[in-house]
Symmetry: C2
Subunit: 228 residues, 2 copies
């Protein structure tokens, strides 16, 4: 579903070049349920941004469902992001002037799903993740972990082929985190959605089928999460 | 150092009243090292905002170092926040147009500390928490956990009487979290700084001298963290 081929990403900060990723080779087959961990600053968000076509690599190639992202036009990339990829940002990126419901249903709206159907689906999902009764609130009227859950709802409601989630449980308690993981596992099992998510939480790592560990922009370990 | 006396906080969301805190009694003596936990949405951020004079209770009183906050003028409250309280926000609240160094040294600058001294102190602290060499970057040029650490540096650099920290380790790996906790413990032991911090992390909870557990805006447990 997702391939990174010898991917490097350099940022420029002032007169310093920051090698955020160096020579990363990663193959996530369709149907994978993969956790990514590593120290703060090791490159997890950078990798997810490249995988989600939100940024371009300095070297190497990123292929989503076989398409080399660099070969796609901007509108083709936008269509891919809308139709095939669900993204959960580390800082949620909710639209402040839209309610929780409107934020959650956003992708369905972009896809032209009818209002009645998308509202029902969004309402049901929000209730399932503990946000029942909060659908008409604005992001600023929600707690940190509630905003995070709206961002998750937005990503999964459209049942994309691939969900890329950046620390999706960082701001919730362990019980809520476990429920969110169960929801992701269910979507994976029922619909074959591919998941790649970063986390700092050992309990979350252990529930993944596979664990990729980053250090200083390189893959340090890629295999079963046992023993972590 | 901090007293909440029968504190309630209601928010209004549309035509619904949300009782974010109800009848909270909490005494944090000077020199306390107190963790606060509880489900997402249970009122942790609300409590910290009231304690830090960033918001006002609907009922009850908040006293900081014996001063009833409602009895202070706006400039007296601002002075209290500048001189006596360090605050770490759940979403960092860094100034986007200031560098990491400028963000960290901000409170010292407000207090009139000379540039040479405050730059040296800020640089040293940033290096100590793993941000050496990044002091001239802007927040957008830092990872999530790096931004969180700048926010922590800003709160503790000025060695306030009380540090209020909202999920200060949510976006960093367990090793970095442990180092940050050690730094907080050191400031507590050496300088008697009072700490009240919220967290979802069991390892962080267990290192506190006392654990306050919130549920639905009420205190559910207040005592030793053993057995959690
Ligand atoms: N725009 C930028 N300019 C310069 N350096 C950057 C920029 N964005 C990220 N970096 C650097 O690239 C490295 C990787 O950042 P990234 O955000 O991918 O880390 P991360 O693994 O997600 O960290 P965290 O766990 O703290 O979220 C870090 O050292 C960071 O400082
Ligand atoms: N401006 C607001 N308007 C309406 N309700 C609000 C507002 N701000 C917070 N709330 C609600 O108040 C309750 C407490 O929120 P608070 O942010 O204190 O929770 P929290 O314990 O910090 O949660 P988290 O662990 O997710 O950060 C939540 O139910 C939240 O939805
Ligand atoms: Mg990150
Ligand atoms: Mg909060």
């Amino acid at each position: 579903a997702l391939v990174l081929e010898n991917v490097s990403k350099n940022y420029v900060a002032g007169d310093v070049v920051v090698p955020a990723l160096s020579g990363v080779d990663l193959i996530i087959p369709a149907g994978g349920f993969v956790a990514m961990a590593g120290p703060s600053g090791s490159g997890k968000s950078t990798l997810l941004n490249l995988a989600g076509a939100l940024d371009v690599p300095t070297e190497g190639r990123v292929l989503v469902e076989g398409h080399d992202l660099s070969g796609l036009t901007t509108s083709e990339q936008a269509a891919l992001r809308r139709d095939r990829i669900g993204f959960v940002f580390q800082n949620y990126n909710l639209v402040p002037v839209l309610t929780a419901l409107e934020n959650a249903e956003y992708v369905l709206m972009l896809r032209g799903v009818g209002q009645k159907e998308r509202r029902e689906r969004a309402r049901a999902l929000l209730a399932e993740i503990g946000l029942g009764g909060m659908e008409n609130r604005f992001p600023r009227q929600l707690s940190g972990g509630q905003q995070q859950r709206v961002a998750i709802a937005r990503a999964i409601l459209a049942e994309p082929a691939i969900v890329l989630a950046d620390e999706p449980t960082a701001n919730v308690d362990s019980r809520t985190a476990s429920d969110l993981l169960a929801l992701m596992e269910k979507l994976h099992a029922d619909r074959g959605v591919t998941f790649l998510f970063s986390t700092h939480d050992l309990d979350v790592m252990r529930r993944a089928g596979r664990l990729v560990w980053l250090r200083d922009g390189r893959i340090f370990y890629d295999g079963k999460p046992d023993g972590f």
